[in-house]
């Protein structure tokens, strides 16, 4: 098995990710898009960014607890990938999950309320930033243990195939997660049993403060070869490139039940989490270079201006709407109540949440409350 170069760049001399017009505009997945759909892709990326930027002051006011891992800089990956999902396709990701959540269509009010720990949050205030879920949108989380979601994504693919459905699962992970044993066990199962799963590595070059070179031997995607799986590598800054690559891999997964590893080059602008001072492992210039030359929103804006799909007026309108939406999410969250003490023991077991118990015996044990 080998590396697939799905969409050859037209001009190898120009880095494919920064070229306008995008060399991937003519890929089938992108050629099929109408103007409205393109605007929607752009709008989603802007909505993710404005949502997350709005989270920061809320966090700094102490209204968000725990960790806050921002996705800023990586928006084209989640939006590109999730825009390809059909009704039997599924997605699962890590704690850096806000982008995927908005990309699949979750309501930003429920997402913000979850950060506030309010009962109106998408997980009723029980999960927090790292644990967003929306099974009704085929979005299976938001997982806090590095690598732990990859067997789950493989299981989603197993279930899709078992039921005879023509769908696939995309299991996202970071570049640091590829070194977890669970990931390798999942690779083997997927390849051995021909499961329709894409292992999507969002390679933002760092796992916390550790660069890829300091944590991983060899090329990340290439590990697929040891399991006789195909693999792809593509840029994650040009949303057209993300879509072109994943579209091809998804079709193979859906139609031939072929798993693949897809390594996508991307970059996060913020620290690992908001608590990371981001001082020890990369220099400012590197971040600035990405911002200035590869920003996924800017690139797509340029592309759509070039295609005459976007206008300056529309750009401003989309931006204003995204800011207003983020503001509404904050207002909604502020006005929402916290869960109560009694809520702590709800949602632990299916059976205790039902009107009637199905088993006997004592389930919960409490000390003095």
């Amino acid at each position: 098995m080998s590396k697939k170069t799905s969409v050859p760049a037209e001009n190898a001399a120009t880095p494919p990710s920064v070229a306008v017009p995008s060399p991937h505009a003519k890929a089938p997945a992108n050629a099929a898009l109408n103007a409205e759909q393109k605007i929607e892709l752009y709008r989603k990326m802007v909505r993710i960014r404005r949502f997350e930027e709005r989270c920061l002051p809320v966090y700094n006011q102490g209204k968000i607890g725990g960790f806050l891992h921002l996705y800023i800089g990586q928006e084209a990956v989640a939006v590109g990938a999730c825009s390809l999902m059909g009704k039997d396709d599924h997605v699962i990701t890590v704690y850096r999950d806000h982008g995927h959540a908005i990309a699949v269509g979750m309501d930003t009010r429920a997402l913000m309320a979850e950060l506030y720990g309010k009962v109106t949050g998408c997980s009723k205030g029980k999960g927090g930033s790292m644990h967003y879920f929306a099974p009704d949108l085929n979005y299976w989380g938001g997982h806090g243990i590095v690598g732990g979601q990859i067997p789950l994504g493989t299981g989603l693919a197993y279930a899709v195939k078992y039921k005879g459905l023509k769908g696939a699962a995309m299991a996202f992970m970071g570049d640091g997660a590829v070194n977890q044993g669970a990931v390798h066990e999942a690779y083997n199962l997927a390849a051995l049993w021909d499961l329709p799963v894409l292992f999507v590595i969002e390679n933002n070059r760092y796992s916390m403060g550790t660069s890829q070179e300091r944590s991983s031997a060899g090329q990340l995607g290439k590990r697929a070869e040891a399991y006789d799986m195909d693999w792809y590598q593509c840029g994650g800054h040009d949303i057209y490139e993300v879509r072109a690559t994943l579209d091809e891999a998804l079709q193979r997964a859906r139609e031939q039940h072929k798993p693949a590893v897809v390594e996508i080059d991307t970059y996060r602008y913020r620290g690992h989490s908001v608590a990371d001072p981001d001082k020890t492992y990369r220099d400012r210039k590197e971040i600035e270079d990405y911002r200035n030359t590869k920003d996924p929103i800017q690139l797509f804006q340029n592309q759509l201006l070039h295609e005459k799909v976007l206008t300056e007026a529309l750009i401003a309108e989309i931006d204003a709407a995204a800011r207003a939406e983020a503001e509404r999410a904050v207002e909604f969250s502020e006005a929402s109540p916290f869960p109560t003490a009694d809520d702590i023991q709800k949602d632990v077991y299916w059976e205790t949440d039902q009107p009637q118990r199905t088993s006997e015996g004592r389930i919960f044990f409490n000390s003095v409350k």
Binding site: K118, G125, K126, G128, H131, G176, G181, P339
Partner: protein
Amino acid sequence: MATLTYREAIRAALSEEIERDENVVIMGEEVAQFNGAYKVTEGMLEKYGPKRIVDTPISEAGFIGMGIGASMLGIRPVMELMFWSFYSVAFDQIVNNAANVRYMSGGQIACPIVIRGPANGGTNVGATHSHTPENVLAHHPGLKVVVPSNAADAKALMKTAIRDNDPVMFLENTLLYGIAGEVPDGDITLPFGRANIAREGKDLTIVTYGRSVLHSLAAAEKLKADKGLNIEVIDLRTIRPLDVDTVLKSVAKTHRVLIVEEQRPFCSVGSHLAATIQEEAFDELDAPILRVGTIDAPAIYAPPVEKNFQLPNPERVIAGVLKVLA
């Protein structure tokens, strides 16, 4: 005496042991170049170099297992889990290999490893990051389990842990890292299995450990001020070995016991303590032993709900004391 934070005290112990024994190696995710996720190992890479302070990939089963293997050949690895919550990824290595290798080899192989990191709730990091596995670890003969509550104990117990020839599970607390205390100078160690009577009293014994000691002491002061009660507070320091004698002596004096722990009550450290006390001092008891612990559910995220309701706090400890005394 020096005033050190809990974090600095652990760092001091690690540094002194690194200097004392060339086989001591510190390993874990982000411990070196990033100075530690919680800055326990800050500055140590610069001081001791990359042979002694080693960054690992995110591969808990791999590097913890590797440390166990290296310890069998006489290395003394001190492995950091960024959170003890991630021990589950390395669980097989810990409970099957570290705990059992001595036994299964008929005593031929020692495993002098320390696994350390924070294990606590209260920081709103949700169910996957808030585990307190001291009961799970202590359930496995072969492992030793240490949960220090203050800077001085943390330093002395860490030194003991590194010199110990058995696998030692050392459970710290992110909410204690910044708390300062007096730490004696010099090469001070503390034997495992020696509890500390953190506060003397005659009306009731609170048996506790880790951060719950702070809640218990705060509750005891308030009960003294408000109701004139004299509460004895025993800080276990280590869960296995367990200083049963100190607990029983106190029970013989107060005849009433409240256990305070950041554990869910089912099969907790407190369950074991309550069983042991009634087995060995039933006649001394004037009231049932009660427990104050974590509400029996996965850790909730919602910050005020976790803090005010799910976890032990001084108010809940006071309620527990009054219930035992009622």
